[in-house]
């Protein structure tokens, strides 16, 4: 077990290092940090001084290691445009994105898993056929269009729900939450659905495909031939075996929700990290871009690690000592 986790940690570190390298390369080669930080009318001497202060005259390796050490401490530099430390910007925006993503993940799993299992078990019923058709429409609807259509119907025409922002938020000091106010909840509804639809349809289709695969195996046939109940075959035999491959992908999906939030946030003007990032791209604000990349990378690595440990507990074949 320890060896297993150690190995995964080592791989995770490797992934993070790669991501850091990309983020660092962006700093190095895209745009000029000095002219971005200095004003229009600074002298050459002042520029040199700034360059020296930023350590841009050191070797690339030194700069990279400083970059990594800073990043580990949560130090990502100062935004070119807003002249504010990136750390503060992200700390301010992070709760909004996390609440939105978790809400969507919850929705997607709650609806997606039962629907996937149902369509696999009752392949030919009209209900699963209509579920499958719906899911096809679901993956064909671009996230931003879902948002726009929802805004049009529930925001503009019916005027039931707010169309932008988080509503009233309660500041808990280190965390600002919209989950404690009615307007916060109402503001959450449309963005959460928008974000969840694509993932949900993916989960439905994935679970269905994997489960059909498992239902064709010999051990399911053998279980039937032993007279086990359909309930036990479907849930304790087939579903559990389905979960093994599905967990990885669902883990990745949940991770990607945070990244997909970029689109939803920009449709609903949701004050999260995605909105920050998309604005940064427009303005080539490299510190924000690279910090966002690192953060997303970190979230993915953590999710992957959790998935691996889950895997390990579900599948006994991984537990053999070779």
């Amino acid at each position: 077990m320890l060896f297993f986790i150690g190995r995964r940690l080592y791989q995770a570190a490797l992934v993070m290092l790669t991501v850091a390298l990309i983020a660092f390369a962006m700093f190095q080669y895209v745009g000029d940090p000095v002219s971005n930080l200095a004003g229009q009318d600074t002298t050459v001497a002042e520029r040199e001084l700034l360059k020296e202060r930023l350590g841009l005259n050191d070797s690339v390796l030194e700069q990279f290691s400083r970059f990594v050490i800073n990043a580990v401490q949560g130090e990502f530099g100062v935004s070119y445009r807003m002249r504010v430390p990136v750390r503060d910007l992200i700390a301010e925006r992070f709760p909004a994105t996390l609440e939105l993503s978790m809400m969507s993940a919850f929705l997607a799993l709650l609806v997606g898993i039962p629907m996937g299992v149902y369509t696999a078990l009752n392949r030919d019923s009209w209900l699963s056929r209509s579920f499958m058709t719906l899911s096809l429409i679901g993956i064909s609807l671009p996230t931003f269009l879902i948002g726009i259509f929802l805004i049009l119907f529930f925001g503009v025409i019916l005027q039931w729900l707010p169309t932008f922002g988080r509503g009233e938020v309660v500041d808990l000091g280190w965390w600002s939450t919209g989950m404690l106010t009615g307007s916060g909840w109402r503001s959450m509804i449309m963005p959460a659905i928008t974000l969840a639809v694509f993932q949900m349809t993916l989960i439905v289709r994935l679970i269905r495909a994997e489960m059909l695969e498992v239902l064709r195996t010999d051990y399911i046939k053998f279980a039937r031939a032993r007279g086990l109940s359909e309930r036990s075959i479907s849930f304790s035999h087939a579903l559990k075996n389905t979960l093994v491959p599905v967990i990885t992908i669902i883990g990745l999906q949940i991770g990607s929700l945070i990244a997909f939030a970029i689109i939803t946030e920009s449709v609903f003007q949701w004050p999260g990290m995605g909105l920050l990032f998309i604005q940064a791209i427009g303005e080539v604000d490299i510190p924000i871009m690279s910090a966002y990349l690192l953060l997303i990378g970190f979230v993915f690595v953590v999710i992957n690690l959790i998935v691996d440990i889950l895997y390990y507990t579900i599948d006994p074949r991984l537990r053999v000592e070779k």
Partner: protein, 569 residues
């Protein structure tokens, strides 16, 4: 009243091109304590019968006519809840592949206890006790410890024992065993058959064994039912069917089974089976294309092929550190020689390294150590591709699996022409095509076969295409790696005859690899036996079969199913 009775069973698979009848008008009976064998070649409908009895036909299959009577009660068409009380409780089933029949995520105990509790109204601890005693009964050592293990912790043979325990744990009256030993090695097969026979004697269940293997039938069955393409052709006591069959199909089938007890020149050509195509035309090497550019009898070397201290390792545990890497010695210092025109047999169970030896000789794998000497030249010392290709051309290989050994995206003519074109063995494209047509004709397919794609041919025909492709480089040395083990016996007989004829006419030197001792006896001049990567014995075929020197060889010979021991002939 018979225990199980099938009356007029007909199973159909409706499809858009009309309904396919898999089983037609089948009638039979099974008594308690009896073992009935259902035998037939692929596509005969044997497994369909077992699935139909339990109501487990794959959709869209349906049993359109007939009855299944268990103890006089009709059980076909029962509602699913009642059927479930019969499956496992009154009729148990054993599947072919023990590696895939067990749920990988549950311990043996969970699977046994669940089945027991459903059928026997036992409490948890009682069910556990029963489970342990079942494992003991099927011969699993330390059952109280092993029961906590997961399927992947058992070997193939042990897993099949667990599968048997699972099928027997609710004390069924009937067991259906669908090719229960096909996926196992000979020595394991013998143990499992022993176990099944013992269980039938002890518990008095009735057992139906479905198999394609006449050896299994002769070992274990009391009565036999022979099937051919969905029809029952003959039913009777094992001794009668094997020794003195009435139906011509049964006779063909039995004559096609290679005999273990003596060597015959050729397999008797049998009627009633897949048409062999145009009859084989003899080739005269003196004036035929296949004989061109070959110095017959001109070799100055005593041996055409010599293998010296050949070694091959596969990495089983990868690691950055040398000390932590683990290897499997697939081939461990193997040496042998083959004279020109000789057929050397290489025998061993799965995992013995015999196929690896073949792949080392023809250069698919690179040896870890040792030499492969062909006509006096050490191939492992050759550097350039061009030099190696001169020798590559002279040795060819025929593979085991007729379904994967031909590129499905190429026409047969292109498959056979590829080596001719690559080695520039013909001057024009017209000549290439003429040679291809001729080769296809010689392997009994007819020149028209060239325009088709591989999927339009049966397994036996595909093996003929493989042979034509191998001949296309005008080889002197042919490696046959289990060339018939994926084929039905009747087809096997044809292919072996073809190989024998070609070997004689073209004076080919051959390395013939097989796990099937009777086949080896029919084909080879000398035999080498391999075990765990090592060569344990090498002798003239008749000497080896009559008085084996090595203990392992003797053991293998003893396990060899002797079909004709019952025989009246």
């Amino acid at each position: 009243m018979p225990l199980l009775q099938i009356r007029g069973m007909r199973v159909e698979f409706p499809s858009r091109r009309g309904s396919v009848t898999a089983v037609r008008d089948v009638n039979f009976e099974l008594e308690s304590g009896e073992i009935l064998g259902i035998v037939g070649e692929s596509g005969a409908g044997k497994s369909t019968i077992a699935n139909a009895i339990l109501g487990l036909l794959e959709p869209p299959g349906i049993m359109s006519r007939g009855e299944v009577l268990l103890d006089g009660e009709c059980i076909d068409g029962l509602p699913i809840e009642l059927m479930r009380k019969i499956r496992g409780k009154r009729i148990g089933m054993i599947f072919q592949d023990p590696l895939t029949s067990l749920n990988p995520l549950q311990t043996i105990e969970e699977q046994l206890v669940e089945t027991i509790k459903i059928h026997l109204q036992f409490g948890e601890s009682e069910a556990q006790k029963h489970a342990i005693s079942m494992l003991e009964q099927v011969g699993i050592p330390d059952p109280d410890i092993r029961i906590k293990h997961y399927p992947h912790q058992f070997s193939g043979g042990m897993r099949q024992r667990v599968v048997i325990a699972l099928s027997l744990c609710a004390n069924p009256e009937v067991i259906l065993a669908d090719e229960p030993t096909t996926a196992l090695d000979v020595s394991i097969q013998a143990q499992i058959l022993d176990l099944m026979r013992r269980l039938v004697r002890e518990t008095g269940v009735g057992m139906i064994i479905i198999t394609h293997d006449m050896g299994v039938i002769s070992e274990i069955c009391d009565r036999v039912m022979v099937m051919y393409r969905g029809d029952v052709v003959e039913t009777g006591p094992t001794r009668k069917i094997l020794g003195n069959p009435d139906h011509p199909y049964t006779r063909s089938l039995i004559s096609a089974v290679p005999r273990a007890d003596r060597r015959m020149d050729r397999f008797p050509l049998v009627e009633y089976i897949e048409a062999a195509g145009t009859p084989h035309k003899p080739i005269d090497v003196q004036d035929h294309w296949l004989g061109k550019a070959r110095n017959f009898g001109g070799s100055k070397n005593e041996f055409l092929v010599s293998v010296k201290d050949l070694e091959m390792r596969f990495t089983t545990v990868r690691s950055m550190f040398k000390s932590r890497r683990r290897y499997l010695k697939a081939v461990d210092r193997v040496s042998f020689d083959i004279r020109p025109g000789e057929v050397l047999g290489l025998v061993g169970e799965s995992g013995s390294g015999k196929s690896t030896v073949a792949r080392l000789i023809c250069g698919i794998y690179k040896p870890y150590a040792g030499q492969v000497v062909f006509d006096g030249t050490d191939l492992t010392s050759l550097g350039s591709r061009r030099q190696i290709n001169i020798y590559r051309r002279q040795m060819q290989m025929i593979f085991q699996d007729p379904f994967s050994s031909l590129n499905a995206r190429m026409r047969v003519a292109d498959i056979v022409a590829e080596p001719i074109r690559f080695h520039r063995l013909a001057s024009s494209n017209k000549e290439v095509l003429a040679i291809v047509d001729d080769l296809l004709d010689h392997v009994g397919l007819g020149a028209a076969a060239g325009k088709k794609f591989p999927h339009e041919f049966s397994g036996g025909q595909r093996q003929r295409i493989s042979i034509a492709r191998a001949l296309a480089t005008r080889p002197r040395f042919l490696i046959c790696d289990e060339p018939t083990s994926a084929l039905d016996v009747s087809i096997q007989a044809q292919i072996l005859n073809l190989l024998k004829d070609l070997q004689e006419e073209l004076q080919l030197t051959m390395l013939f690899i097989s796990h099937d001792l009777p086949v080896i006896r029919q084909v080879c001049d000398r035999v080498a036996v391999m075990r765990d990567g090592k060569l344990v014995e090498e002798a003239k075929t008749e000497d080896l079969f009559n008085k084996p020197q090595n203990e392992y060889t003797a053991h293998l010979l003893k396990l060899m199913p002797r079909l004709h021991s019952h025989g009246a002939k």
